[in-house]
Symmetry: D2
Subunit: 160 residues, 4 copies
């Protein structure tokens, strides 16, 4: 079972379009930020460090899928509830639920992979098997030290 991390976003005037609501690609941007916040909250070292120690340069996106239910506008604070929905051999899926209070504004999944530089061609990157220790950290319920300063890590039972 995955941890769930909650990432807060204050919506600003410049995030909104002439309809007065959040211009939709910003939700993708915030989910991306929330993915990183999730890993940091799980106690995983920043890519900056992991690239030195283990060659991992990040978790680029392979696929996104988002459904929009209700708009948000500036002056509002929204929450992105992020977890790992499933782990495959070389990829994993994030689930992001964007909420404003009790309202679910949109829901998205992201498929990502842990990648390293290709030794044969350092210009290219290639996916590696999901590291077991990272997987364990994302699933654990033992609060890590880095988690203690986070806004609201919420482990729940209703996420696979």
């Amino acid at each position: 079972m995955s941890r769930v991390h909650v990432y807060r976003v204050d919506v600003h005037f410049g995030d909104c379009d002439p309809a007065g609501i959040v211009f939709f690609p910003n939700f993708s941007r915030w989910m991306d930020e929330s993915s990183l916040a999730f890993f940091m909250a799980c106690g995983i070292a920043p890519w900056r460090e992991l690239v030195k120690t283990r060659g991992i340069v990040g978790t680029p996106l392979l696929e996104i899928h988002t459904k929009y239910f209700k708009p948000a506008t500036y002056g509002e604070t929204i929450e992105i509830h992020t977890s790992v929905e499933s782990w495959a051999a070389k990829t994993f899926s994030h689930r992001h639920t964007v909420r404003r209070g009790d309202d679910v504004l949109c829901e998205g999944t992201e498929v990502r992979a842990f990648v390293v530089r290709d030794a044969a061609n350092p210009e290219r990157i290639k996916a590696i098997p999901v590291p077991e220790d990272i997987k364990a950290l994302c699933s654990s319920f033992v609060p890590s030290r880095s988690q203690s300063s986070l806004p609201r890590p919420i482990p729940t039972g209703d996420n696979p």
Copy 2:
């Protein structure tokens, strides 16, 4: 069978991230631009006009789904090949194929609806049945006047 309209984008430095490649939400932004360019190319009046004549305020997004295959970087020109993949009673699906030359960089679908303001509550919008005349314009192969100035409208057989 849907028309296919090709929308060109020059990728700029500021569109790219520290990995040197297009920051992915920009693809969603460009697909959104390409959706509008598609309707204009089909000879449909701008929303600005349609809101006055028929109350249609636009085609907001209900859902997006994008797969990323290869990155793009600044200095490159990419093409977004946009068509209507399917029409439902009150929604329709765009297909966007992003190409750089022969390479397919990413593929996305968007589910959208034609909406009008709710008479009971003008703050709200509601979907209407897809207007038959608009549907016809998007499917027709007769080049409309507005299409003549477009870069490369390419009707093909491999789009439903």
Copy 3:
């Protein structure tokens, strides 16, 4: 003497360009956010309310001037120290100093005006004399109630 309000920004991956540093227009975006945060911190009602009670629709920009000294990158938290540098009859100048710890990263001024809709042509806006009560709230050192929840309002003596 103006209050100084400090607005914090977490710099994210997507805010940075292929040089690995903040893409400069983002600093303008954050200064704009900080301007609004300043007025809220001073106890001024949101434009949303002011437009109803006094017709004030906001404080659009007439001019910006920014000097860049040092770059910022993702993973960093920066602070924007915002004050009113000077009040003219119908305009005022914000000063924004962007800091990372003791480093000054960039400095900007913004010239803005309080505007209302033109009665003769509601499509247009026009500047009004700076309201004295708003001016007073921005200058006062008496902590307002709304200020108490702010991260770090820092009244200093070295701002005009």
Copy 4:
């Protein structure tokens, strides 16, 4: 006397804010794009090449100054008229005039420097004297080959 290069921008829905007009930092983004288009139009090799042959990594911004006169909105095409206003020993100033037809929407200057990596510390960059050959290319009235494919290079007399 500097060449003047004209860079065209189609304004899109997502470039505009809830006031229905271009969100101002986008003008800075477009001026940045126009700066690069100017150098390309003058026949200067892309930074990508110049970094290999001469170590020049680009022309980062030291300062921007923009005045906003009239707004722009989506569906409009605007033009950015870009020239070099002045050359100093190690910096130069661009002037960008943003027009929509005969209207001047905003005017901006940018101070930039040609930079190379610092040999002592490759993480840092340092300004070099403005290369005379580049300066000559930007001033020349002899149309360069690469210029011939550009939309509308307009050499005029009223730019220093």
